[in-house]
């Protein structure tokens, strides 16, 4: 079901146009990277502050609270561009091991956020008033660093795997052939008959 959804979405007029555009696709990817630079950089600084390695003259509350809103905008930009890219090659991404790993890591990052929300992120002022940075805040930061850098690296990895869709299609024997003909036009792989 997920697979047929992926096939359907990538062959919608919108994503077909995006996939075929010479300039829009790289622009979306560039904006994805701009989002990573801004949002990723702020995540790094927040985590490094929680670990006590960076911006030590600023209180934890100052860093966590003030970077929250710009981080959300950065995340929105990055995720929007990510969905645009994934949508235009949805079937390929469905089979892509790095993309699957990336989604799992996203789920883990959400769990991390929920687990540490009350003790770390919701009330950073309490962390400042404790004698040292509490261990669970450091653990949250270390996990966040690990997960987000892994997500970025998996993202880069996606481009290095090209699932052999033609072979997969040949094995599956049932695909949305009408949509494939529509989108791929004359450049269909040899050996296809409808």
């Amino acid at each position: 079901m997920l697979l047929s959804f992926a096939q359907w979405i990538q062959f919608t007029a919108f994503f077909t146009a995006l996939r075929g555009s010479a300039n829009i696709y790289p622009i979306v990817m560039s904006l994805h990277m701009v989002g990573i630079a801004l949002f990723g950089g702020m995540i790094l600084m927040t985590d490094l502050r929680l670990l006590g390695w960076a911006m030590r003259k600023r209180s934890i509350a100052d860093v966590v609270e003030q970077l929250r809103v710009p981080k959300r905008w950065g995340l929105l930009l990055t995720v929007t561009c990510g969905i645009l890219m994934a949508g235009s090659k949805a079937e390929e991404y469905y089979y892509n091991a790095f993309f699957r790993t990336k989604l799992i890591l996203f789920a883990l990052v959400i769990i991390q956020e929920l687990v540490f929300y009350r003790s770390v992120y919701a009330n950073p002022a309490a962390l400042d008033s404790s004698p040292g940075i509490p261990a669970n805040a450091k653990l949250a930061a270390a996990l966040s660093l690990l997960l987000w850098t892994s997500i970025a690296c998996c993202g880069r990895g996606i481009g290095y795997i090209e699932p052999p869709l033609d072979k997969i299609h040949a094995q599956l024997r049932f695909v949305n052939t009408a949509a494939l003909v529509d989108a791929r036009g004359p450049s269909l792989p040899k050996g296809w008959d409808y």
């Binding site: 010479a22 696709y25 790289p26 622009i27 990817m29 560039s30 990277m33 701009v34 990573i36 630079a37 801004l38 949002f39 990723g40 950089g41 702020m42 790094l44 600084m45 490094l48 960076a54 911006m55 003259k57 600023r58 100052d62 860093v63 003030q66 970077l67 809103v69 710009p70 850098t149 970025a152 690296c153 880069r156 990895g157 290095y160």
Partner: protein, 150 residues
């Protein structure tokens, strides 16, 4: 005897270097953006841009060094291709401009506790230059030197 670049004999070297490159630019451009946003009155407003610059300069420099060295190694894998790639050339123009701007005009603008009137312009120029570097970097992969674009 021709000595091959050891980077080219491993399929993993290039993607791993790219990951370091990404972390490097997230660290450098991210920290610069924190200061620029502060000049624009966004994000960290309880501190002055000067304070933030003092907090982050070492991380910015560390990120720049990481980005630069991983970038040089990436470049070494196929110098001819990069030399002929116009996106790469544009990226280098943006990169040199951004670094020079950062350590001259930008540094002066954030060095006083009261940001000058043109602080917002400096912040915008800084952000645009760094975005130019990123766009150039992405377009490298979409251009095939000697062939038509696309």
């Amino acid at each position: 005897m021709l000595i091959t670049n050891p980077l080219n004999s491993s399929a993993l070297a290039f993607p791993i270097l790219e990951c370091f490159h990404i972390v490097g630019f997230a660290l450098s451009i991210g920290t610069i953006a924190v200061v620029d946003f502060s000049l624009l009155g966004i994000g960290m407003r309880r501190e002055s841009p000067a304070q933030l610059a003092k907090d982050t300069w070492l991380w910015t420099l560390g990120g720049l060094v990481l980005m630069l060295f991983s970038g040089l190694l990436l470049f070494s894998s196929d110098p001819d291709m990069y030399y002929l790639n116009w996106a790469f050339l544009i990226k280098m123009v943006f990169f040199v401009s951004a670094v020079v701007f950062h350590y001259t005009v930008h540094r002066r603008a954030v060095s006083s506790d009261i940001p000058p009137g043109n602080g917002k312009i400096v912040a915008c120029v800084s952000l645009l230059l760094w975005c130019g570097v990123i766009f150039g970097g992405i377009f490298i992969g979409f251009i095939y030197p000697g062939l038509s674009i696309g």
